[in-house]
């Protein structure tokens, strides 16, 4: 051992320091994900199950009622959003895990802002979830979706946005949670209805009015619909089929444009992130 200690002088806090903190929190999320083989495998398996087992099973039931389009093709964008959302939620849950195992304390006593911890976590969750989405993107050909570069880039961007918003939502929920069980309980309670009412599994056209209202107020609808829109624009299906399966979202008869939907998701994500940071500041 060298006898002379290396004197470290920590510079005063700066934007660069906060950026470094965000980067390392994010980097840790990646490392954790890559070192967890079970989690990686389950993430690989999950979409396969949804798409090919559920999709094929349900598809045989509804065959013929969707003219010209395989049910799996219809479900494909829904599955992307579902997988991304689940993964993002899991990532957010790691905050509760960190608290239970004490590591959160290491972050909370550091001379950095709480915001950089939260932002790092959300970005980490969004990147892991997008990575998960890439696996599903790779399966596009199996369900009759073309490998178009514009489609892939559009979907990746939309996945990232959705994942970030959901991670922010999860972090907000997790900020004050003390144990994993209650977090996952709450997560199921929040995610399941949102998923069912988002149009991930059925088209939003011709719904009974009560369900239509629920889908319109459900923020997740606005994350799922742009993905479906992107996929359908590359399918080349007849207009009638497109109208039935990809009707978009309407507010009192007004068609909400995709750009606005995405903007809405981004705004919700930013608000949730803000609330999450405030919650996190309060929790000690």
């Amino acid at each position: 051992m060298s006898s002379e200690a290396i004197a470290v002088v920590i510079p005063a806090r700066s934007a660069g320091h906060d950026l470094r903190a965000i980067k390392i929190v994010l980097h840790r999320e990646m490392l954790r994900f890559l070192s967890d083989r079970t989690r990686m495998l389950s993430m690989l398996l999950q979409p396969v199950l949804w798409l090919f087992v559920m999709g094929t099973g349900l598809g045989s039931l509804v065959r013929g009622s969707i003219p010209g389009v395989d049910y799996r093709t219809f479900m494909y964008p829904g599955m992307i959003s579902m997988t991304v959302i689940m993964t993002a939620m899991f990532s957010a849950g790691s905050i509760v895990w960190d608290r239970e195992f004490g590591f959160l304390r290491e972050m909370l006593v550091a001379p950095i802002s709480r915001a950089s911890i939260v932002v790092g976590k959300c970005l980490g969750g969004a990147i892991v979830a997008t990575g998960q989405g890439i696996i599903i993107l790779a399966m596009a050909g199996l369900v009759g979706v073309p490998y178009s570069p514009t489609l892939i880039i559009t979907l990746l961007a939309e996945m990232f946005l959705a994942a970030f918003t959901i991670t922010a939502f999860g972090v907000m929920l997790a900020a004050r949670m003390k144990n994993m069980q209650s977090f996952f309980g709450l997560m199921q309670m929040a995610i399941m209805p949102m998923m069912f009412m988002s149009g991930a599994m059925f088209p939003l056209a011709n719904l009974p009015s009560w369900l239509h209202v629920l889908t319109v107020v459900n923020p997740m609808t606005y994350a799922v619909d742009p993905m479906r829109n992107a996929v359908f624009s590359h399918l080349g299906v007849p207009d009638a089929v497109n109208a039935a399966l990809n009707p978009g979202v309407q507010w009192f008869g007004w068609q909400v444009p995709v750009g606005m939907e995405l903007g809405l998701v981004a705004v919700i994500g930013a608000v949730l992130l803000g609330v999450g940071i405030i919650q996190f500041r309060k929790a000690e």
Partner: protein, 324 residues
């Protein structure tokens, strides 16, 4: 309040609702000192240390660490302190080196120093050869060593150690003390620690004893032991009953049989021994005189042993001796 004190606390208070956890303590720790904070469970040790580490806001009084106020200059304080908690705060899924790197980035250690400093602190706690092993494969002692290394990584002015050796085997405990003693030589650092082990408190330059949220006494271990005043004398005789009776009659001392010997407490025991032989009127087979230990000090000031914090009445000193 001295400006250059490593830790300066004045009338520090913390109340939780109606419970007064800390009732206005004041003390100072000089730079370079190893300062021991002792007290029975629930005495206010952890609350005080949490206030000094900026984890809990005081409800009254002031505290400054490394010259920075713990409330108004929270980040400054945080930059200048290292923390080792009782419970581990490592990520078991990351390697030892990854845990340290995380810390270096979080604390903003200058990039060109990170690698060298990580190696230095890991070599210090003899974990460099295990740098790439996942922390979950480490034993309790190794984890504690790694946490100490991590606490030092950013060259803090003050290192807070909350029960650094609790739950560790004697060998690891002495190894950790070896590192702490080495630290005083290599790094320019002040160490503020709490401990339950009285034999470890001996290593401290000064000790503060806190009880019921109040500072009872603060001094060097030697001075504290001297302040107890009485030595422990043990004698072996042919007839313990008669010896006890004789001690009471001739010297007015309360004696009892402990560890198979007649035991009593007396001021300056060595000077008492010749009188004992001359005046006891009984043959004495052997005699031993022991200086008071820190356990005796603790007993004397808090009325309980540190281990169980029981209230002991009567001849407290003697019973503490009996427990050992």
């Amino acid at each position: 309040m001295t400006l250059n004190a490593a830790v300066a606390v004045r009338d520090l208070q913390k109340t939780y609702g109606k419970v007064e956890a800390v009732k206005g303590v004041s003390f100072e720790v000089s730079p370079g000192e190893v300062f021991g904070f002792l007290g029975p469970n629930g005495a206010g040790k952890t609350t005080t240390i949490n206030m000094l580490c900026t984890l809990v806001n005081p409800t009254g009084g002031t505290a400054a660490v490394a010259g920075h106020d713990v409330v108004s200059a929270r980040d400054e304080v945080r930059r200048n302190i290292g923390l080792v908690f009782q419970d581990p705060t490592l990520d078991g899924y990351l390697s030892a080196a990854q845990n340290l790197r995380f810390h270096a980035e979080l604390y903003g250690v200058p990039k060109q120093l990170v690698d060298d400093r990580i190696q230095q602190v890991m070599e210090m706690v003899a974990l460099w050869d295990r740098k790439d092993a996942k922390v979950m494969t480490f034993s309790g002692g190794m984890k504690r060593r790694l946490e100490i290394a991590r606490g030092l990584l950013h060259s803090p002015r003050v290192l807070f150690l909350d029960e650094p050796t609790v739950g560790l085997d004697p060998q690891t405990r002495s190894a950790i003390w070896g590192y702490i003693n080495k630290l005083r030589l290599t790094e320019d650092i002040t160490i503020f620690m709490t401990t339950h082990y009285m034999d470890e408190a001996e290593y401290c330059d000064r000790i503060a004893i806190i009880d019921h949220g109040e500072l009872v006494v603060i001094d060097s271990p030697e001075a504290l032991k001297a302040s107890v005043g009485k030595d422990r004398v043990q004698i072996q005789t042919g007839d313990d009953e008669r010896a006890i009776a004789a001690l009471r009659e001739r010297f007015g001392l309360d004696a009892a049989v402990h560890e198979g010997a007649v035991t009593f407490a007396v001021a300056s025991g060595e000077e008492f021994v010749p009188r004992l032989f001359a005046e006891l009127g009984l043959p004495i087979k052997s005699v031993s005189v022991a200086r008071p230990s820190l356990d005796d000090v603790f007993m004397n000031y808090t009325g309980s042993t540190i281990r169980d914090a029981e209230t002991v009445s009567g001849n407290e000193w003697m019973r503490a001796a009996a427990r050992r």
